[in-house]
């Protein structure tokens, strides 16, 4: 049956992309479009005394200038997290009396072209009184200047979670090890920044917003509320999206503002984010400073783990800002049996851009804490880091595995992945080589990460706005198959992988299936692509929708063939008795293209006296509806909303081997092996791509990337000249392999893979560097590990 699923199928979305013919937001051109540019705060914290827009509005080509007082009708930027006692600042789309971070929008200039709008920004005079900025997250928690006087302090919320008696567990340990761990702020840097095009038709009272987003339907709901337009008069279209990584899993001030401006002016308006704006005012990721304490027995058995963390939330809550550290708390058991776990979160306001979901979203932090802790235990006890991990794994027959963080891991075989990775890298020989290298004065290090992550978000109980995903599958009168998915992929390749699922299930050619997404005017309500959920949740919705459709088609085919429904089956695109016989014999028929319908008027279905019917013939009969079984709705489509009962838990082992240059402190990769288990694989080529990209983002975090605000709150990594991304020559050849433990949570058996690389890799890389420097007594290093810091250790 499976001709496509599991195969390395080339992507159907690629031809338009490699020819330069795809349409991202800025490639959509509407007549009479006006262009918006923003005046943004240059201060991290200041009172606005006055804004003088008179010169800007006089400039040739400028149509309008809006400031905070003009936009009172637009509702606040929403936060979807509802934590007990959470303090929520009033986040207006343009600054009111004060600005709270560098890059906060203060005024919007509308002009006939983008150059004029940009020029006029410089003509808006804002008079500020600077206020003391709150920058360091630990200092923010302790006191000093308060950002929001009405809140009394800078603490947005405190939260404690976990199971087991942590104090007793730690007290009963043979060893207690503590470590301060920093997860630096990162900028997601999708290669396409954000962009919005809005067009209002005053007569029809309809607003269309094109936005580079991961969540078109959720965005529509939120923008309808913010702008005050009925949701059914607002259409959100997500054209090609040039990467998201969580940064477009949000509702931004600019999106509402553009819609509102278009309604004011009755014309299309466009804003395309520049890269400097992107680093200032698109969400950041990570931003935690924490203190871990882990307890263990002398044999390496882990007894308990506590993590006290200060989360640098930034000045405002974006959609999920306060929720991210709670995901860290959920994953603090890692891939280990830990009887007692506690997380204590202190979420703090700072005068910076908000942190929110960046690829991994709270789970890379947890994995890093747990994996670094395992290395610390290994170092303390003098046990090999692989063996400390192995000793604490739950066995495959212990799944579903309950953790002291309250989760039930679906399935896993952690030792198999570790074994395979050790075998691939030749672990024992490598340790011998390391000994010789050390004796020769070389700094060779080996780092291991045996991660587990939480994916396929998730049951609706665990999500702010629905944990399901939707699909509609339709067979058109000509037999072509249309799949409408509520997931909104943006580079992951679901136009192909969902077509693989549907084509296999329908026995049709892949090229006869078209997958449509990202348009609320066409697609039924959906949730979106994030949390490695699109295939596990959205792909399952496609599968079940097709199965529903086939039940109906089978009934219609049997009626037309004048046989009992149970006596026919579907194979190779045909309903027939022969297929039923072949299925009974365990044979399968070849997949056939649907072919083209005859030109001209739709033909009458010709079904009389046939031994079998093609899906095209059944679809045509269903649509012309002249001879259907009693009580059968015309048409041939089915919709399914799939809500999983649990999350999925992909896992794996990554091993990095590095050598450090004594002269420069530079870190060079010698090997990188990754064995990942994401359950069943729909398209191995796409899975490899997700892993490679994720691992390289981890390399970025481990070695290069950091959003830096100076102690005055000024952003000093404001462009790609200062914010260092990994380039082609920085990264090693990645040796990938898989184990396959199906998830019982969905019928596809898939777990998700979008974030695995970003979650699993950083501890392996930092662990390797620490291992290389262990002759100098190094036990831990903060990311990004820069050559200067390494050089100072070697030359101390």
């Amino acid at each position: 049956m499976a001709k496509y699923v599991g195969q390395r199928v080339k992507r159907t979305e690629d031809p338009r992309l490699i020819k330069g013919l795809a349409h991202y937001v800025d490639d959509i051109r509407l007549p009479d479009t006006l262009h918006v540019a923003f005046v943004r705060s240059v201060y991290p914290h200041a009172r606005i005394n006055s804004i003088d827009t008179s010169e800007a509005i006089k400039a040739a080509g400028v149509v309008a200038v809006y400031t905070g007082k003009d936009v009172a009708a637009i509702g606040p930027v929403p936060c979807a997290s509802a934590l007990p006692g959470l303090k929520v600042p009033d986040y207006r789309v343009l600054a009111q009396e004060k600005v709270y971070f560098v890059g906060q929008p203060v005024a919007a200039v509308v002009a006939r072209d983008a150059y004029t709008a940009r020029d006029a920004v410089d003509l808006v005079m804002v008079d500020y009184d600077e206020l003391p900025a709150v920058v360091d997250v630990e200092a923010a928690a302790k006191g000093g200047p308060v950002i929001y006087e009405n809140f009394g302090d800078n603490i947005a919320y405190k939260l404690t979670a976990g199971e087991g008696d942590i104090e007793a567990a730690l007290a009963a340990s043979d060893h207690r090890i503590k470590q301060r761990i920093v997860h630096q702020r990162l900028a997601p840097i999708a290669m396409e920044g954000r962009g919005v095009l809005a067009r209002y038709f005053p007569g029809e009272e309809e607003l269309t917003i094109w936005s580079s987003t991961q969540i078109p339907h959720l965005l529509r709901t939120q923008l309808a509320l913010m702008i005050g337009i009925p949701e059914n008069k607002l259409r959100v279209i997500t054209p090609e999206v040039g990467g998201g990584f969580g940064s477009k899993l949000n509702v931004y001030a600019e999106e509402a503002l553009l819609g509102w401006i278009s309604m004011q002016l009755g014309k299309p308006v466009k804003w395309i984010e520049g890269r400097r704006e992107n680093i200032q005012a698109t969400i950041h990721g990570r931003g935690q400073v924490g203190y871990v304490e882990i307890g263990c027995k002398s044999d390496g058995t882990i007894t308990g783990l506590r993590y006290d963390v200060f989360a640098d939330l930034g000045a405002y809550h974006q959609l999920l800002t306060p929720a991210i550290p709670t995901l860290t708390g959920l994953m603090l058991s890692g891939s280990y049996r830990i009887p007692a776990i506690q997380i204590n979160v202190t979420g703090c306001f700072t005068n910076k851009m908000s942190t929110d979901a960046y690829r991994g979203a709270g789970r890379p932090e947890a994995t890093y804490v747990v994996e670094r802790s395992m290395d610390l235990v290994a170092a303390q006890l003098g046990i090999d880091p692989a063996e400390v991990r192995r000793k604490n794994f739950p066995a495959p027959n212990q799944f579903p595995f309950h953790t002291a963080t309250g989760l039930n891991y679906d399935s896993g075989n952690y030792e198999a992945a570790l074994d395979k990775a050790q075998e691939m890298i030749g672990y024992a020989a490598l340790r011998e080589e390391q000994k010789k290298a050390r004796a020769a004065g070389r700094l060779l290090g080996i780092g291991i990460s045996t991660y587990v992550e939480i994916c396929a978000l998730g049951p609706s109980q665990a999500m702010p706005a629905g944990g399901w995903e939707s699909a509609t599958v339709r067979i058109e009168p000509t037999g072509k198959v249309t799949v409408l998915t509520g997931a909104s992929p943006h580079g992951q390749g679901q136009e192909t992988s969902f077509a693989q699922i549907a084509a296999d299930e329908l026995g049709v050619d892949l090229n006869d299936v078209t997958v449509i997404h990202g348009d609320t005017g066409i697609v039924q309500y959906g949730i979106g692509t994030f949390g490695s959920r699109a295939t596990a949740v959205g792909g399952t919705a496609v599968l079940i929708a097709v199965q529903k459709l086939k039940e109906k088609a089978n009934k219609i085919a049997a009626h037309l063939l004048k046989v009992d429904a149970a006596s026919i089956a579907f194979a190779g695109g045909r309903y027939s008795r022969a297929a039923a016989a072949a299925a009974a014999a365990g044979e399968s028929e070849p997949v056939v293209p649907v072919g083209e319908a005859p030109a001209g008027a739709l033909p009458e279905p010709d079904t009389e006296g046939k031994s079998g019917l093609t899906i095209q013939e059944v679809a045509l009969a269903a649509h012309v509806a002249k001879d259907l079984p009693p009580d059968t709705e015309p048409g041939l489509s089915a919709t399914y909303f799939f809500e999983p009962k649990n999350f999925t838990f992909p896992f794996g082992t990554h091993i990095a081997v590095v050598e450090i240059d004594r002269e420069t402190g530079d870190v060079k990769f010698l090997r990188y092996v990754a064995v990942d288990d994401c359950g069943k694989v729909i398209n191995p080529m796409l899975v490899d791509g997700q892993l490679q990209g994720g691992i390289v983002q981890s390399i970025g975090q481990a070695l290069y990337e950091e959003v830096v605000y100076d102690d005055q709150g000024q952003l000093v990594t404001g462009s790609l000249m200062d914010y260092a991304l990994p380039r082609a020559a920085h990264v090693p050849w990645l040796e990938l392999a898989r184990t396959e433990t199906p998830s019982p949570v969905n019928p596809l058996g898939v777990k998700g893979v979008g974030e695995a690389g970003t979650i699993g890799a950083t501890p392996a890389i930092v662990g390797a560097i620490v291992d290389a420097l262990s002759p100098f007594g190094v036990k831990h290093l903060d990311m990004p590990v820069k050559p200067e810091a390494v050089w100072r250790i070697i030359n101390a």
């Binding site: 013919l21 800025d26 290669m191 090609e240 990467g243 890269r275 791509g689 990209g693 990264v731």
Partner: protein, 153 residues
């Protein structure tokens, strides 16, 4: 004061009057409607806007349209020959050298330059040749394989 320019883009001659400050990438995208060339950084670091000017890979966000007067330009839209994919485009498709596709046009144009200079580059040489172009999705490995595929064609 607008300036007259005359140039060839993808084999078609163009005459226009443009503002002296108009960036070449905006001329291509906004005047000629060739939106396959993308803008990713404002600081000449990402390479999404890479095109060929007289056969040389150039970041078109760092060149003025008036500086292109008299030149021959090839953009991603001009790489396809009578509907046939260029071997480099084929390589990116075959080897999954793209995900979101945003860096892809610039990446493909830069990659053609690598093979123009060295028809059988090593993996290290390919990686070095791609250093002016950022990709945030692929981790570069499949892009390296795509260039190897094209080199063998």
């Amino acid at each position: 004061m607008k300036k007259a320019i005359s140039l060839s883009v993808n084999g078609i001659s163009q005459q226009d009057e443009v503002e002296p400050r108009l960036l070449l990438v905006h001329y291509l995208r906004d005047v000629l409607g060739l939106t396959g060339t993308h803008i990713g950084c404002e600081t000449s670091l990402c390479g999404a806007c890479t095109i060929l000017v007289d056969g040389q890979a150039v970041k078109s966000c760092t060149m003025l349209a008036v500086q292109a007067d008299g030149s021959e330009i090839t953009t991603i839209e001009g790489l396809t020959n009578n509907g046939e994919l260029h071997p480099m485009q084929e390589g990116f498709w075959e080897r999954h050298g793209l995900q979101c596709g945003y860096c892809t046009p610039g990446m493909i144009m830069a990659a053609t330059q690598i093979l123009d200079r060295n028809s059988s580059p090593s993996r290290e040489e390919i990686r070095h040749g791609l250093e002016g172009n950022l990709c945030r999705c692929t981790g570069y490995q499949h892009i390296v394989e795509a260039v190897e595929y094209a080199a063998k064609k």
